[in-house]
């Protein structure tokens, strides 16, 4: 096999090509959730279509699920309706469903890798932009809209024009307390929200090799915020170990055979990329966003910028509008921004590693008076593991609410939301206006930065803490 890892997986899955150079790619894993599937299902019912491969499909409830309780959940009426629709559709089309009560329920991008469904070399599609997450395991994954969700249900394929390829190389040893989340925010602040539009990113370099698999998921998760179509990291021993033994992962001889194939996926030396960029990230400090898209970010020792610093008129206006929304003055030290709410959760940062990192900072400390802090594990499995390790006690004793799994305050569809004007330190991926609640002001950070902000009531530099 020649070329990049992207070429190899692409070519392997190409079923056909059309006269305009689009590929029909076979999709090995199709994940679906309650928000982007109902319209696809109703259209299929109207047209008499069925799901071609229910065995390669997994449905979950994540965006709308209550996280306060399984026994006495607080359900928003429309959320309940959407979840009911998911339940009915999955029965009607015979699709496996992790519903609200399933012991493995959780956020779609946490569950896929956790169950061993996402493995190297597979193609993944999901009606959700953060499907790029799965690239961390060496899968080629695509976030898609509802029309394409329907297309995958019916045909198990997707028509795609091959995106251009963008190699992002990160080298250097990270400072203590600096994580994959900081790498993601740093990259986006450097190349912008449109920096990778039309491209698939392949991450590479010593920093990436040093990241654990869950950290890689955080980084790949946020590639979409740099505009990337998706992203991928060549699988290595760490990935094989992560995959091995998971419920749906290949077993025994099959696993050994798989590893032989997976070892061949690496990009060949000299393979061509359409774009390349290199960073030395050894001096990087933890990142915090100050604006209303993920590129508006600064290192913790920085300041909120002034619109005057930008040359382009529309950029200046955008920054002005952002600062007005965020209620921030130019020149404010990032460390002086106070937080009202701390949210540790989402498909970006709610895996076991993330909770462990936050707990390390929280151990023996208390959440500052007046700050509301909630921890929402990415899946019920993560929650159980954390509880077995006693991590939940660290959160609870510090004064955090310890919740059930779901998207929760990342998108605020289930009732977990910021109040107007509140500033949040959030481990999620989007600081768009009103994303976490009407009038809410989001600052994106890593789990340890969020934990530290909970203790102090403002942002602090965790790379300076012991």
């Amino acid at each position: 096999m020649n070329g990049t890892i992207i070429d190899k997986i692409w070519n392997f899955h190409q079923v056909a090509e059309d006269e305009d150079g689009r590929s029909l790619l076979y999709i090995d894993r199709h994940y679906t959730h309650e928000v982007t599937s109902p319209v696809a299902f109703s259209d299929m019912k109207a047209k008499g279509y069925s799901v071609r491969r229910p065995d390669l499909t997994l449905a979950v409830m994540d965006h709308n699920v209550p996280t306060n309780s399984k026994e006495r959940p607080t359900m928003e009426p429309l959320s309940k309706k959407e979840m009911d629709a998911m339940w009915e559709n999955s029965r009607f089309f015979n699709v496996p469903l992790l519903d609200f009560y399933s012991p493995y329920q959780g956020i779609i991008h946490v569950i896929g890798p956790e169950l061993g469904l996402t493995i190297p070399m597979v193609t993944v599609a999901a009606g959700d932009s953060h499907t790029s997450t799965h690239g961390a395991l060496g899968a080629l994954s695509f976030g898609i809209g509802t029309s394409e969700v329907e297309h995958v249900f019916v045909t198990q394929t997707l028509w795609l024009k091959k995106p251009r390829q963008f190699r992002v190389k990160m080298d250097g040893k990270l400072r203590h307390g600096v994580t994959a989340k900081d790498l993601a925010l740093y990259l986006i602040s450097e190349i912008g929200t449109g920096g990778a539009l039309g491209h698939i990113i392949e991450y590479d370099g010593t920093t990436i090799a040093d990241l654990d698999v869950e950290g890689r998921m955080t980084l790949c998760n946020m590639s979409i915020e740099a505009g990337a179509r998706t992203s991928i990291i060549a699988p290595d021993q760490k990935v094989y170990e992560y995959v091995k033994g998971r419920p749906f992962a290949p077993k025994g001889e099959e696993f050994d055979e798989a590893v032989k194939e997976w070892d061949k996926l690496k990009t060949e030396p000299g393979a061509k990329y359409d774009k390349e960029i290199k960073f030395d990230v050894s001096g990087l400090k933890p990142m915090v966003t100050w604006g209303t898209n993920p590129s508006m970010a600064s290192q913790i020792n920085g300041y909120v910028p002034s619109p005057e610093e930008f040359n382009d008129k529309s950029k200046r206006e955008e920054v002005e509008k952002s600062l007005a929304y965020m209620g921030l003055k130019p020149g404010t030290k990032i460390e002086d921004i106070n937080v009202d709410v701390v949210f540790i959760g989402s498909c970006t940062n709610a895996r076991l590693t993330d909770l462990t990192e936050a707990a390390r900072v929280l151990k023996g400390k208390k959440v500052k008076e007046g700050v509301r802090a909630i921890a929402v594990p990415g899946s019920e499995w993560v929650k159980r593991q954390a509880e077995r390790m006693g991590i939940h006690n660290v959160f609870i004793e510090a004064g955090f609410e310890w919740r059930h799994a779901g998207c929760s305050m990342c998108i605020a569809m289930n009732g977990d939301a910021l109040l107007p004007g509140q500033h949040a330190a959030s481990t999620s991926n989007r600081n768009f206006e009103n994303r976490q609640g009407v009038g809410g002001r989001t600052h994106l950070v890593s789990p340890s930065m969020a934990a530290a902000a909970a203790i102090y009531g403002h942002f602090v530099d965790v790379s300076e803490m012991n």
Partner: protein, 209 residues
């Protein structure tokens, strides 16, 4: 349905990074329907927290209420994959969006729904935007000639051939793909075992609970 040319009134929303959370907020993703979403387009910008119209926002200006060609700047439609953003634009009456660049998933969603997205350079967009402020600029997009005309001027644009053809023909892709059934089945028959999923009833029961 074929669509070769479209003309309509331009609406200058001269902003960068208009994300799909702004195009339609998440609470309106619970409606289980793709029709009727126009009311929720740019909901947080069009209405205040009490639900009153915000008179400062462009789409509430009477002179733009019948606009059908939206002018953006950089990175229009970034963010979430919600196709509802496209459904809302189309239901509101928009047929065309001009911008320098678009979110990749948003772009594909638009094509699927016959919303024409045209990429132009930033200076041209700003020029068209200035003229559009009058509230009576008509913009024409010609998909055959790949050309945008406004105020007596014309400029060519690039568009992927498959996108252009799909916009013109408006055909359902699923129908087309079903003709590839044999090739799909052949791929499935050759799939290596380690890539398959063992979704047997017992296994399924364990995870479903």
């Amino acid at each position: 349905m074929t669509l070769k040319e479209y003309s309509g009134k331009a609406v200058p929303l001269l902003m960068d990074n208009v994300d799909t959370d702004q195009l339609i907020p998440a609470e309106f993703l619970k409606l289980l329907e793709k029709r009727g979403l126009g009311k929720y387009l740019f909901y947080r910008w069009r209405y205040d927290q009490k639900g009153n119209e915000n008179s400062e926002f462009l789409l509430n200006d009477p002179k733009f209420k019948d606009g059908t060609v939206l002018i953006g700047l950089r990175n229009f439609g970034i963010g979430s994959s919600r196709e509802n953003a496209v459904w809302a634009l189309v239901d509101f009456g928009f047929r065309v969006v001009l911008a320098e660049s678009f979110g990749d998933i948003f772009y594909e969603n638009a094509v699927k729904n016959g919303l024409i997205l045209v990429k132009l350079d930033i200076n041209t967009l700003k020029k068209i935007g200035e003229l559009a402020k009058s509230g009576n600029l008509i913009v024409t997009v010609d998909l055959e000639k790949k050309q945008v005309s406004y105020g007596g001027r014309s400029i060519g644009f690039q568009m992927d051939e498959s996108v252009r053809k799909r916009l013109i023909s408006g055909k359902s892709e699923i129908e087309i793909t079903l003709d590839y059934n044999e090739k799909i089945a052949l791929f499935e028959s050759k799939m290596p075992k380690f890539l398959k999923v063992n979704m047997e009833p017992e296994q399924r029961k364990i995870i479903e609970g």
